[in-house]
């Protein structure tokens, strides 16, 4: 059920809760899968006593990875052509995040159709933790 240029409208949005009450163990799980074992994300003692943060916090790439599932659920598997983000705020254990895509443009290039999206992920207080963009191939 790919998106279609015929039915898609500029301004249309899609959103999804991508994590509820983020667990420290999920940070460890992401460290193990990605290979990024930075103790800022996996080692509370280091993060608080050496780096000076209130606790461990999420890898930016975990937030981007969780945001990417909202995108692939929306545009379909293997359809993204670009995806880029800025990490605007740290994500902490206990956070609940919601990711949203907004249709900015629908375009045709050499007979192929694409959608351009803005992407925003917010925490439970509505503060933006990630802002970005994505494009995907869509059906005519």
């Amino acid at each position: 059920m790919a998106l279609s240029a015929r039915t898609l409208k500029v301004g249309e949005t899609y959103e999804e809760q991508i994590v509820d009450n983020l667990a420290r163990t999920q940070l460890v799980q992401y460290a193990g899968a990605s290979g990024d074992y930075n103790p800022l994300h996996t080692d509370e003692v280091y993060s608080t006593k050496v780096a000076g943060y209130p606790s461990v916090f999420a890898h930016g790439m975990l937030t981007m990875g969780m945001t990417s599932k909202m995108l692939t659920h929306y545009v379909g598997d293997g359809r993204l052509t670009t995806f880029g983000v800025r990490f605007t705020r740290q994500v902490w254990p206990g956070d609940t995040l919601t990711a949203k895509a907004t249709v900015e443009a629908i375009r045709e290039e050499g007979g192929k159709y694409f959608v351009d999206l803005t992407v925003s992920t917010v925490n439970q207080e509505g503060a933006e933790v990630l802002s970005g963009y994505a494009s995907a191939r869509i059906d005519p």
Binding site: A2, I18, V19, Q26, Q29, Y30, G32, A33, S34, G35, D36, Y37, N38, P39, L40, T42, D43, V45, Y46, S47, K49, V50, A51, G52, Y53, P54, H59, G60, M61, L62, M64, G65, M66, S68, K69, L71, T72, H73, G76, D77, G78, R79, L80, T81, T82, F83, G84, V85, R86, F87, Q90
Partner: protein
Amino acid sequence: MAATKFPIEAGHIMLFARAIGDDNKIYYDEDYAKTTEPGSIVAPPTFAMASAQFDPDYPLRPKIGQPWFGSGKEPTGVQRRSGGSGGGGGGGGLHAEQHFEYHRHLKPGDVLTATVKPGKTWEKEGRRAGKLIFTETVTEYRDQHGELMITARSVGVRTERPVDQN
């Protein structure tokens, strides 16, 4: 410093999908994946970051026989530089931006090579963390045939002090 050989493996994709909390069956069920448009298991969009596993020099992984800067008996396993400005960056700074261009999506059996090119460096005075030094790197991931699969642009930031939480 990059992965010279990054084999895309189904088990690794499953672990990565679990870590981002995605239960999409295309990441672990081969039979299901055959019925989808890509026609096989594919990697999630940010999977290229896991090339760190195959980078022999990746600094954010404990290595056998080498001191690790995370906590053990003491809060950190390395001597802190006196008067240093390591602060909030901890090991290797913070990640400020990440951009991917997908030329083709990754699937099990692909074997990638990453080529890293240094990009720009710039400074900015931050409101919440003092002086910020941004550094950009561009990584090109090519498959076993030399075909460009993913172009990744990463911006890291070193902060003068830990980021204020207010």
